[in-house]
């Protein structure tokens, strides 16, 4: 009898699981591309919004520029008008000084003239206002017409009264001599009377009119 040898041709099967499709790497590539696209879109949205903010800065700039131009123009017109006013005032002042120094001024007629000038001035102002209301383009002409009278009158009075006032001390002192009065009270009273006489003589009582 032979010795037994037990062997089998059945090898069995080890642990060999079937492969499962792995889509994650492909999915990661797709997601990376989509994420990149999203970020680019977001960056573009931010750039667009920044551009809108920059554009908004121009809003209202037209009004600001117009305001600057108007201010420059107005300042120039004001400066020009001030020059004109000053010229007229100086001209009036010179005339007033000359009248005061010459002593030829008929105060009665001057006061009447001033009153009439005021009436005329009012009439001129009314005419000017009417002209302006009819056509705003008449502004320059109206300005010349109405402004000259007032500034010249103001200058005249300044010149006249300024010149007259330089004579105040000498004239009042000549009218009231301190040695003629026994006390200071009577001297002050006499000086007040002389002051009124001086004002009346030179028409200063109408200074504020």
């Amino acid at each position: 009898m032979e010795q037994d040898q037990l062997q089998t041709y059945e090898q069995g099967e080890g642990f060999k699981p079937n492969a499962v499709a792995n889509v994650i790497p492909a999915l990661d590539r797709i997601n990376a591309r989509l994420n990149s696209a999203d970020q680019e879109a977001l960056a573009q949205v931010r750039r667009n919004n920044q551009t809108r903010v920059e554009n908004s800065k121009s809003a209202g700039q037209d009004l600001i520029a117009l305001s600057k131009m108007s201010k420059t123009l107005t300042d120039a017109l004001i400066e020009r008008q001030e020059g004109i006013n000053e010229d007229e005032r100086l001209e009036g002042s010179l005339a007033g000084q000359e009248a005061a120094m010459a002593g030829t001024l008929d105060l009665t007629k001057y006061n009447e003239g001033m009153a009439k000038a005021k009436q005329v001035d009012n009439v001129v102002q009314d005419i000017g206002a009417e002209l302006l209301s009819k056509d705003p383009n008449n502004y320059e002409a109206v300005s010349q017409l109405t402004g000259k009278t007032t500034w010249r009158s103001k200058g005249f009075r300044e010149g006249y009264y300024g010149t007259i006032m330089t004579r105040y001390n000498s004239e009042v002192d000549s009218m009231v001599v301190p040695t003629d009065y026994p006390d200071s009270a009577s001297f002050s009273q006499a000086r007040a009377v002389a002051r009124k006489a001086f004002f009346k003589k030179h028409g200063l009582h109408n200074a504020s009119s």
């Binding site: 009898m1 010795q3 037994d4 037990l6 089998t8 059945e10 069995g12 099967e13 080890g14 642990f15 060999k16 699981p17 079937n18 492969a19 499962v20 994650i24 999915l27 997601n31 989509l34 999203d38 970020q39 949205v45 931010r46 919004n49 920044q50 809108r52 908004s56 800065k57 809003a59 209202g60 700039q61 009004l63 600001i64 520029a65 117009l66 305001s67 600057k68 108007s70 201010k71 123009l73 107005t74 017109l77 004001i78 008008q81 001030e82 006013n85 102002q125 000017g128 302006l132 502004y139 109206v142 300005s143 109405t146 402004g147 007032t150 500034w151 009158s153 103001k154 009075r157 504020s208």
Partner: protein, 223 residues
């Protein structure tokens, strides 16, 4: 009198235009900045939402793959178990057939010697050889079957460990579920210019106009 009035109105108008323009500019800038901040915020939220959707979808695909992998591991394990069982069965079957053959040979050897009329010590020695060989074969078969059983146990245990390892590796990819990050905070809106500033600017322009009028109007002496 009209020139000062007109210039005063022009001066005030220029100032008012400037104030209104600055107010409009500041208001437009504030509006644009707020609109931009809101738009950026909405797009940020949209991008964040899309990213999160993609994360959730990716994790869903991983879970699906995990389930499939577990199924495949289980089926592969069953195949491995069945293969080991078939191998063991084959050895048992082979041992059974060998046992049958050995019994036949034992009977055949003993009866052959007797039929040949062999007696005495020679016949006894021959018979002892046959029986001894039968006994050794029995011992060999027993040892082989025991070894086959041990090998089967080792193979089954190895397969079990392989399944566990494979399942653990598969679980690593889905162990941590994605979580959304903190949402971006909403933007802080820019306040627009106050109406009080505009009113002050207009009032200032009006005062400037009055000053212009006063500057250009002759003041009566003593008045």
């Amino acid at each position: 009198m009209c020139a000062p009035a007109a210039l005063a109105v022009a001066s005030a108008g220029a100032g008012i235009m400037g104030s209104v323009g600055q107010h409009q500019s500041a208001q437009a800038q504030a509006n644009a900045q707020n609109a931009a901040a809101t738009s950026n915020y909405k797009h940020q939220l949209k991008v964040r939402e899309r990213n999160w959707d993609r994360e959730v979808h990716r994790y869903g695909r991983q879970l699906h793959q995990y389930d499939s992998t577990l199924q495949e591991n289980s089926m592969a394990g069953q195949r491995a178990y069945a293969g080991a069982q078939r191998k063991l069965n084959s050895i048992y079957q082979q041992a059974s057939f060998k046992q049958q053959a050995n019994l036949v040979n034992l009977l055949k050897g003993s009866s052959g010697a007797a039929a040949a009329g062999m007696t005495g010590k020679s016949a006894q020695r021959l018979d002892n050889d046959i029986v001894s060989q039968f006994g050794r074969n029995q011992a060999i078969a027993a040892e082989s079957l025991m070894g086959a059983n041990q090998a089967y146990s080792r193979q089954v245990e190895g397969t079990r460990r392989e399944i566990n390892n494979a399942n653990t590796q598969a679980y690593e990819k889905v162990a941590l579920a994605p979580q959304p990050g903190v949402a971006p905070p909403p933007p802080v809106m820019t306040p627009g210019p106050s109406g009080l500033g505009l009113a002050a600017g207009i009032l200032d322009a009006g005062i400037g106009g009055v000053q212009t009028y006063n500057k250009l109007s002759p003041t009566p002496l003593g008045g």
